[in-house]
Amino acid sequence: MEATVARRVTYAPQSAQDVIRMEQIRKVYDTGKVKVEALRGIDLLIGKGEFVAIVGPSGSGKSTLMNLVGCLDTPTSGSYLLGGTSVGTLDRNQLAEVRNKRVGFVFQSFNLLPQITAFENIEMPLLFGQVGKRQRQERVKELLNRVGLADRGEHRPTELSGGQMQRVAIARALSMDPDVLLADEPTGNLDTSSGGDIMGLFEELWSQGRTVLVITHDPALAKRAGRVVEVRDGIIVSDTAA
């Protein structure tokens, strides 16, 4: 707990460098009869270039937190600045644009579109970002190289291994050069060795200055991050630098 306080103090003056700045975020799911309070006042600052692991047992609210960080959902109350933009006041189309340009998602189950090639999967956010055709192709080639799949561009996801699929997903997440890379249990569906590769890739990206936010159960994974935030019962219970 002391570390949390310390960090806040450390980061507050550098707010211009904050990629994520959440203050008193609350999220209540109203299911009609029952109101479930998933997040009960989250304060979270994540600076540019940090590698943060968010850990916590299931039901702790970390998925909700991830959805809010990724602008897939909006908080019930509190303020959230993503890269300096207040997200709470945006409409659906603006939120779509924020997701497109500022957030790169990596999912546990990869979520690649099965009917199109790896190349086209990586190209998808560029299409939504209305990037020109030539630039798109250059960017996708560069990303395929970056994740070591230069020769797999024309393969469909079903023709790739789990680790390869996740690397395609990471390339896709990076395509629009987002402010933050958001990964939800990225190694959850992988064997140990592929999982290790993926973590290595995240570390590499971190070392190149990327901001990475990983949600995980896996203590081994959390250990490799620069900072671990533990969520329990909708609040942050610890925030420690590794």
Binding site: D73, R92, N100, N111, I116, F128, Q130
Partner: protein, 415 residues
């Protein structure tokens, strides 16, 4: 760019389930065929009926001089009004707004050619009867002309049925026959026509001679029927009032006396017929449209299934930054494609069926002749396209709206 993007996304969306797509497209094609055929039959019927109703003459009025129904200027009711040949000339001179003609009828014409004798109806007429009453000659002959009337020529124009009765397979034009004992030359035979209105039997079974010749031979000059065709059909009522005024002045009867002149205004009748036909067409359109609607529900159904199957895909796209319209656009396009392809197939099948029906001979079969041939007109095509388009949009819109409501946070949660 936006439309291009939607087209691009459409091409990249999940592969269509072929069997389901085929079934859906068939349903739309079937619906389109029903709609198109029903409307085409309606159109064919309409054309046939309109041809039939004007078979007697387009936009004409038929007037029977009768007996007065009211006392007028000291004269008692019940006086017969006798209109004569010269009165037609008077009306022509005084009524520049209309074509005026008339005829004298007799049911006692005995026509002899060789060993064949036929008794039938005969009319004494002017040359303009041809246009007013649609008595057009078939190839190889002519109608009576003004010189025939002027010189009281003994020439005769035969209805096609009557000509067949007398001459069988022989060629009537140019033949000489005996009409009540006097020789007449056949100048023409009427071209076959569909005639639904008649006042003294169909024209096909009658013969016509110049009115001057008629007067000489039968010693009659009292007009049986006056015919009026205004230059502007809409002003028929005015023309009839004018005519009653002229004759009323000459024969001293109240121009508003409806019994002095019995009138059949076909313009009025055609209006009613048109409305009835429009009603029939709307009814057929509704029946066809409902059939097509079932096809549309099929499309909506398949699109709902597609949305359901692709919920995860939709969620992923939303997470990657797709706007709602970029999700719904390709779906609407997909639904519209089913509808469009189905409609196109339906159109091709309909054209085939209508062409084949056109090849079936209806000659001699009265029921078929009357029903007419289905006609795929521009109006039918446009109406069908409109209904099809509307159904297509509705069938695609509602499922797409559901897709737009997909909550990405919900769908992307763990498997």
């Amino acid at each position: 760019m936006r439309l291009g993007l939607i087209a691009q996304l459409f091409l990249r969306s999940s592969r269509v389930q072929r069997k389901r797509a085929v079934l859906t497209i068939s349903a739309i094609a079937w619906g389109s065929v029903s709609l198109l055929l029903l409307l085409s039959f309606g159109e064919g019927l309409r054309r046939q009926l309109s041809v039939g109703t004007v078979g007697m003459g387009k936009d004409i009025a038929v007037i029977w001089p009768g007996a007065t129904g009211k006392a007028y200027k000291g004269l008692p009711p019940g006086r017969e009004i006798k209109v004569v040949i010269d009165d037609i000339e008077l009306l022509r001179a005084r009524m520049p707004e209309a074509q005026v003609s008339g005829e004298i009828q007799t049911g006692r014409a005995s026509i002899v050619w060789g060993k064949k004798t036929v008794n039938g109806r005969l009319r004494g007429v002017w040359a303009d009867y041809e246009d007013i009453r649609n008595n057009f000659p078939r190839e190889g002959g002519r109608f009576l002309d003004p010189l025939d009337v002027q010189f009281k020529r003994r020439v005769i124009f035969l209805g096609n049925e009557m000509a067949k009765d007398i001459f069988g397979d022989a060629r009537p034009e140019g033949q000489t026959l005996l009409l009540n004992g006097l020789p007449y030359t056949v100048v023409g035979v009427m071209k076959k026509k569909i005639q639904m209105g008649t006042y003294s039997g169909p024209d096909a079974g009658q013969a016509a001679i110049p009115i001057s010749t008629f007067k000489s031979q039968f010693g009659r000059e009292r007009i049986s029927v006056i015919l009026v065709k205004p230059h502007e059909p809409a002003r028929m009522k005015d023309a009839l009032a004018h005519l009653a005024e002229i004759l009323g002045g000459k024969y001293s009867f109240d121009p508003k006396d409806t019994r002095a002149l019995g009138t059949w205004d076909t313009v009025e009748n055609q209006k009613t017929t048109r409305n009835v036909l429009l009603g029939i067409q709307i009814f057929l359109g509704v029946v066809g449209g409902l059939t097509l609607l079932i096809g549309g529900i099929g499309v909506a159904n398949i699109m709902y299934a597609v949305v359901k199957e692709r919920t995860r895909e939709i969620g992923v796209k939303m997470a990657l930054g797709a706007r709602a319209s970029w999700i719904t656009g390709p779906l609407v396009l997909e639904g519209m494609t089913y509808t469009f392809v189905g409609g196109l197939i339906g159109l091709v099948i309909s054209i085939l069926i209508i062409t084949l029906l056109g090849l079936i001979p209806t000659e001699g079969n009265e029921a078929l002749e009357f029903l007419g041939k289905p006609v795929l007109s521009m109006t039918v095509g446009l109406a069908s396209a409109g209904i099809l388009g509307l159904i297509g949009i509705l069938a695609a819109y509602f499922p797409a709206r559901r897709a737009a409501r997909v909550d990405p946070a919900q769908t992307l949660r763990y498997e």
